[in-house]
Symmetry: C2
Subunit: 179 residues, 2 copies
């Protein structure tokens, strides 16, 4: 499925969560099985050639994609969650939001040591959450970490932030602010 | 993979989130690709014979399983989220917790009308969240709704609650309180 066809399955909700924001809503894409299948296949094709050892999914929409991708690629899946959701020993990373900070957390696990890890979310915007998740994987001993998402908000600095951190990023489609 | 082998991949965390609770932690299952694959295959096999039209995933661990299952079965996926996370027009259902109430929400969509829907989560306990999600699907016009999860906490009333509501429930494994 082409980038334009995939984009046509993503709903733009104006002024959400606040005035001036064009929210890109992937729930409509998930409702179209052909489109969802195509997105997972594109992510899987990209990932296969890079020979990842594990997938890391970001809470919560990233769980959908990472769950399907770990299944398709038959790779281990680790979860990067909002703080306070994981029951066992964890490590966490704070990151900055427009106002204040947020925290992501993952279980301490030996699984990731020397693994090449692909971190998966639905959307790349400022790169804050992505980079915090990537730092967690590096602290767990990952030998390499990359990032994949459905959407790149191309006017926001996410891709450059990841590039500066030595992270390769794959996205299925891009949106300009005015779209 | 046998029920016992799958259970051996689920970590029990004692006294979490509070004293006296044995929390069944599926993150260790997700870290084992053979086990995760087997679980999704078992859910898919069960679902195939029942010819569902859509999958509904419950926030957040249910997103992982529903994302993989919707992909494997090539079915539409709708999200049942905690309140305030969905950007478009929604309907919601309150349900009771041990202390207080919680709310789940889904987008208003015409997709579900006359669909046979499978609601998916990681765990069946009291059945409160499951039943609230099922009520949402019925309000969207579903012709039938069933439920599937990895774990059944067999001493809790979830299975009976769902049976009383006319819902068939499939789970991959069961835990007694003392295990």
């Amino acid at each position: 499925m082409t980038e334009e066809a995939i984009k046509s399955n993503i709903r733009t909700v104006r002024d959400w969560p606040k005035a001036g924001i064009n929210f890109r809503d992937v729930t409509t894409l998930f409702e179209n099985p052909d489109c969802y299948h195509s997105v997972i296949k594109q992510l899987a094709e990209w990932a296969k050639s890079r020979e990842y050892d594990s997938i890391a999914g970001i809470d919560a929409r990233g769980f959908i994609l990472s769950g399907a991708l770990a299944y398709e690629l038959k790779l281990p899946l680790v979860l990067v969650r909002k703080k306070g959701k994981l029951p066992y020993s964890t490590i966490f990373e704070d990151y900055e939001l427009e106002y204040g900070t947020a925290t992501v957390e993952t279980h301490e696990t030996e699984l990731i040591r020397d693994h090449k890890v692909l971190v998966v979310d639905d959307l790349l915007a400022t790169g804050g959450t992505a980079l915090a998740a990537i730092r967690l994987m590096r602290r767990l001993g990952a030998s390499g970490v990359d990032f994949a998402a459905i959407i790149d908000l191309v006017e926001l600095p996410g891709r450059q932030v990841l590039k500066n951190a030595g992270v390769e990023a794959f996205t299925v489609c891009g949106f300009n602010e005015t779209e």
